[in-house]
């Protein structure tokens, strides 16, 4: 018995059982060992049985007990019994008077019960073929209910079946009782091995400073059990995504632009050659402002946009024709894309080759639902330099998305009002192609009036959709109106 490893309860129980020959019930174990907790007794008995020191006898019984509705039926009488009394006492036991005397929830099922008992409806009246038999059956049912609990073997199976089919009238449950009898191996254990040892749960500084821990035993814990998760601080998943994207841009030599949400329709749309009657400019898509209602723009810019929109100016374009309104241009709005800031940066720095990016919020007039919010994050990068081409843009996109973790990238034609050519970018995401951004080269109607010297490659994407995919989220609101338990349970991205 070198490998004998007993817990203190097992030691105590075995020492009590040694030399006996009877079956020990849980109750007997509890009183002999002076325990209150059945789980300790069962655990000790099972532990000893597992090591072959006692024999465990398991006796399973199926017990029929009274259910929630059964208790009520015992107090007020079974539904069929109340109905039968009413039929017997009533002068006019008809269907219509039944519905006056009983709730609808009882009348319906009640008729069903009565029919099974042999009560039929004849010309609207409820009539029993054999009133004595009905009386007897109802009596048997009531008696059965009041006789519970009982072993299932002692019950009439037909009665159990019929009552089981009714809601919570009875409950049939299995109970297990254990008894133990000491085995020869158990009797052979030397009593010195059954002396209980000090068992240490918590290791404290006081304990470690004393010497008592040296002979003591450390409690073995069930390592599979859950503990409480400590409260901790962490980044919002959107912040984590933003930081990843910022570092990719910074590594690739892009500088960061930060600018205001409040902008003019002129810079947000006219400068980008979006026609003034474009549907996206309407009140149902863009947030316009009461304050500031209108924002002054430089005369030179208004004139440039007017001529480009109306006739193409000197860009060689036909323009949109129609009439350009400076008042529309000056309207204050919440930016609908970060390109409004990129284009102003280019207007201020038309000669200097640059690579700039932004990751920031934009606004669209969307009602809040599972897939829409009125504000969300957009990322955008541009390259303006001599020799910037569509081929360079596609190469840069491949580098950018590879750094994000998506090495497989493909592009196909797309349409955006201010780029030509335009591209849709798709990446391989978990085995399937996923649209993850748009790109293109700014139209001459956009760059030439501002005196921008070189072609401008641009691309962008919304960030929330990626966040939702990564987090397996089907409701975008969770990102901005978060459930804090959900937020804390998210992986660090």
């Amino acid at each position: 018995m070198e490998n004998l490893s007993l817990t203190n309860p097992e030691r105590r129980l075995l020492s009590k059982m040694q030399g006996t020959s009877n079956h020990w019930t849980v109750q007997e174990v509890l009183s002999a060992c002076e325990w209150n907790d059945q789980a300790i007794a069962v655990g000790a008995g099972e532990g000893l049985a597992n090591q072959g020191l006692v024999e465990q006898i398991i006796d399973s019984k199926t017990i029929v007990q009274i259910g929630k509705n059964g208790i009520e039926a015992l107090e007020n009488g079974l539904l069929e019994s109340r109905l039968w009394s009413w039929i017997c006492e009533s002068k006019e036991a008809t269907m219509s008077s039944l519905s006056q005397n009983f709730e609808r929830s009882e009348a319906g099922p009640g008729i069903g019960l009565l029919k099974k008992l042999g009560v039929s409806i004849q010309g609207g009246a409820l009539v029993a073929q054999d009133p004595d038999a009905v009386e007897k059956e109802i009596q048997a049912r009531s008696e059965f209910l009041s006789s519970l609990p009982k072993n299932i073997e002692d019950c009439d199976p037909g009665m159990v079946d019929s009552m089981k089919s009714r809601k919570e009238l009875i409950e049939v449950s299995e109970t297990t009782s254990r008894t133990w009898i000491v085995a020869a191996e158990g009797n052979a254990i030397d009593s010195s091995l059954l002396v209980e040892k000090e068992i240490i749960s918590e290791i404290t500084p006081e304990l470690l400073q004393s010497d008592s821990w040296r002979d003591a035993e450390f409690r073995r814990f069930d390592v599979t059990l859950d503990s409480a998760i400590p409260k901790r601080g962490k980044s919002h998943p959107m912040q984590a995504l933003i930081e990843r994207i910022r570092s990719i841009f910074l590594e690739m030599g892009f500088s960061e632009l930060v600018d205001d949400y409040v902008q003019t329709a002129g810079w947000n749309m006219d400068a980008l050659f979006i026609p003034q009657d474009h549907p996206a400019r309407e009140m149902q898509d863009t947030f316009y402002l009461d304050n500031p209602k209108s924002i002054d723009l430089k005369k030179e810019h208004l004139e440039l946009w007017k001529s480009v929109h109306e006739s193409g100016g000197d860009t060689g374009s036909t323009g949109w024709q129609g009439t350009f309104s400076e008042d529309i241009s000056k309207k204050g709005l919440l930016r609908t894309h970060t390109t409004v800031n990129t284009i102003q940066y280019l207007a201020d720095n038309p000669d200097k080759p640059c690579r700039v990016f932004s990751v920031d919020r934009v606004f669209r007039k969307e009602a809040i639902d599972r897939t829409h919010l009125p504000e969300f994050h957009q990322i955008e990068g541009i390259i303006m330099e001599e020799g910037a081409t569509l081929a360079m843009l596609v190469d840069t996109l491949k580098t950018f998305y590879a750094k994000m973790g998506y090495p497989e990238v493909r592009v196909r034609p797309a349409y955006f009002p201010y780029t030509e050519p335009s591209l849709e970018v798709e990446v391989k995401w978990r085995g399937k192609w996923l649209e993850l951004g748009g790109a293109g080269i700014f139209r001459p109607e956009v760059t030439e009036p501002l005196g921008v010297k070189h072609p401008v490659c641009a691309w962008g994407m919304g960030l929330e959709r990626l966040a939702m995919l990564v987090l397996g989220l089907d409701d975008i609101r969770q990102l901005y109106i978060s459930d804090l338990d959900w937020l804390n349970s998210q992986p660090i991205l």
């Binding site: 919002h236 500088s255 409040v262 947030f287 504000e375 901005y480 804090l484």
Partner: protein, 589 residues
């Protein structure tokens, strides 16, 4: 984006008319490369999204026309074949102020279908095409409206007159005569489009030689000219204010009918200025494209033959590539301009390609025709240093500090309302408030000045979760219409109170390099808020000044305020101005 639904068997029939075989598998692979998104494609139906710049792909017929060149190498011509016809429209001069542009065409011998089902699909497609064109070209019939009639039911010549509102006829979908003003008030189409004629005292009406009404543009057609199952010969009228949109619409309806072997006959319109116009023009537009754009903008060199084939695949046609003289600059500033001694491609473009505004648009078509997948590789050459936003480190340090203190970051909407930002918090607006004209709800009428209200709203949505909650937001507010950065946090905990929040503030100030020692270079001085200013509980809240600059406040939230946000737990927190923190604290490194 507009979507169209096309029956595969219609495409099959249309291609068969041209001697071609429809291939469903090829569509799934290759049609997206033309610049259309396939929503779904099965054995019965094709549903595709059409980019708003391509109104020429909005019907089964015009789509099949593009498919011939792009997928089947059956290159189509960039113009319409037109026979001379004898139909005449007389337009009253008064129309110049009512609906100045009137165009027309006749198309005869259209193959509408071999059975009733096919004919029904055709008629439905014809109606849908008109509606889609009204939207794509006309913004809903304003600039352009189209009428299509059964030519056999009417007798030319036609007159377009400016009529009094009491002029009567039987409009489409009605059994009895109505006056023009009744139509605008009672007829569903009249009510939908009445605003287009607002302020006019006479309305446009087209009559035939028997004074029967063809149409009351842009509202409704007459009932007796309706296209039926037996119609083979069609009269088209297009009216409006925008000549280019009207011509495009007319060409596209003609193109739709010629894709079914219809033969176009010209009409003569004696327009409101008294000039005789022969319509439709059907002629292609000629665009000169500097060839330098291919290497300079796209980064590719293509041979003349490759350019020719690419253009043909896109339904255009290359007339020639010519060398130009020395009258041009060496390196032109405008994309539309060729360089000295350079080459230009002279390209014929169908007049229904509404999206072609500039030579760069032809360049895009050449590249689509050539295939985006065939672009060469080209890396950026200049090396540049990426510079992050100026407050990049301050923002990172704040996040590290607060997360180290056990705060979870949240984000909330910038859109807020007066109650939450000001009244509920006992704050007054000391800066201009950015206000929305068309808010989505009464809760989102302005841009926030503070972060704390958003955090309180979030906490009140989290009452079902177990305490404590420690959350912070590093966010943007807008004051005087300018973005400002702020940081705020709140702890909802059963006990702790002022001592706990003051401890956190001490930790945070240490993390940021500020000191509570008056002799230090970054002296953070704390003084009590006694008057219940803002949401703070008097005597249990304080403001912080660093080197004399007021950077923020912290303390216990007054339970009166918590109650407004339906929170009955002790709250403490803080809010700081990040821009000021950066200004006074700078960067320790």
């Amino acid at each position: 984006m507009p979507t169209i639904t096309v029956q595969q068997k219609t495409l099959e029939m249309l291609l068969e008319l041209q001697g071609l075989t429809h291939n469903i598998e090829e569509i799934q692979d290759k049609l997206p490369l033309l610049g259309t998104d396939i929503d779904s494609c099965d054995a019965d139906q094709l549903v595709i999204e059409i980019f708003p710049d391509r109104p020429d792909l909005l019907s089964a017929e015009t789509l099949s026309h593009s498919m011939r060149s792009y997928l089947h190498d059956d290159y189509t011509k960039p113009n319409l074949n037109i026979n001379t016809g004898d139909v005449v429209f007389h337009v009253d001069s008064e129309l110049s102020n009512i609906r100045p542009i009137i165009l027309g065409a006749v198309v005869k011998g259209v193959h509408t279908g071999s059975n009733d089902e096919e004919i029904d699909i055709f008629i439905k497609g014809l109606m849908e095409h008109q509606e889609k064109l009204h939207f794509a070209l006309g913004g809903g019939r304003k600039k352009v409206s189209i009428g299509v009639h059964d030519l056999e039911t009417i007798s030319p010549p036609f007159r377009v007159k400016a009529c009094e509102p009491d002029t009567r006829f039987i409009p489409l979908a009605m059994d009895e005569e109505m006056s023009l003003s009744e139509i605008l008030e009672k007829h569903p189409k009249g009510m939908e489009y009445a605003d287009l004629l607002e302020g006019m005292d006479k309305f446009p009406v087209i009559f035939d030689s028997d004074d029967k009404v063809l149409s009351f543009p842009p509202i409704i057609n007459g009932s007796h000219t309706t296209v039926s199952n037996t119609t083979k010969n069609f009269l088209i009228d297009v009216t409006g204010w925008d000549r280019r949109a009207c011509e495009t619409a007319l060409s596209l309806i003609c193109l739709q009918l010629t894709a079914r072997n219809g033969v176009i006959e010209s009409v003569t319109v004696n327009n409101c200025k008294g000039e005789a116009e022969i319509q439709p023009s059907g002629k292609s537009n000629i665009v000169e494209v500097p060839m330098r754009l291919l290497p300079e903008i796209i980064g590719i060199n293509l041979s003349e033959e490759e350019i020719r084939v690419s253009l043909q695949r896109m339904g255009m046609s290359l007339i020639e590539i010519t060398q130009i003289g020395d009258d041009y600059p060496d390196s032109p500033e405008k994309m539309s301009m060729p360089e000295k001694g350079g080459k230009i491609a002279i390209v014929e473009v169908p007049n229904w390609r509404f999206d072609i505004l500039h030579p760069i648009d032809i360049i895009e078509d050449i590249i689509i025709g050539h295939g985006y997948e065939n672009l060469p590789s080209s890396k950026p050459t200049s090396s540049m240093t990426g510079v992050p936003r100026v407050d990049h480190n301050m923002r990172r340090r704040l996040r590290e500090s607060l997360q180290g203190l056990g705060f979870t970051q949240i984000q909330s909407l910038t859109l807020s309302n007066d109650a939450d930002q000001f009244e509920n918090m006992r704050w007054t607006a000391n800066h201009e408030v950015t206000r929305i004209t068309n808010p989505i709800t009464i809760d989102h009428t302005l841009l926030r000045h503070h972060l704390l209200p958003g955090i309180l709203r979030l906490l009140s949505k989290n009452k079902h979760n177990e305490l404590p909650h420690s959350v912070y937001e590093l966010g943007t507010v807008v004051r005087d219409h300018k973005n400002k950065n702020r940081v705020a946090f709140i702890t909802a905990e059963k006990s702790g109170g002022f001592a706990a929040v003051r401890g956190r503030i001490q930790a945070m100030m240490q993390d940021l390099g500020a000191s509570f020692d008056a002799d230090s270079k970054m002296f953070a001085e704390i003084s009590a808020i006694e008057d219940g200013e803002g949401p703070w509980l008097a005597g249990r809240s304080a403001k912080i000044e660093i080197n004399g600059v007021h950077v923020g406040c912290f303390g216990e939230i007054d339970p009166t305020i918590s109650e407004i946000f339906e929170l009955s737990v002790p709250l403490n927190g803080a809010e700081f101005d990040v821009d000021l923190l950066l200004e006074v604290l700078g960067d320790p490194v």
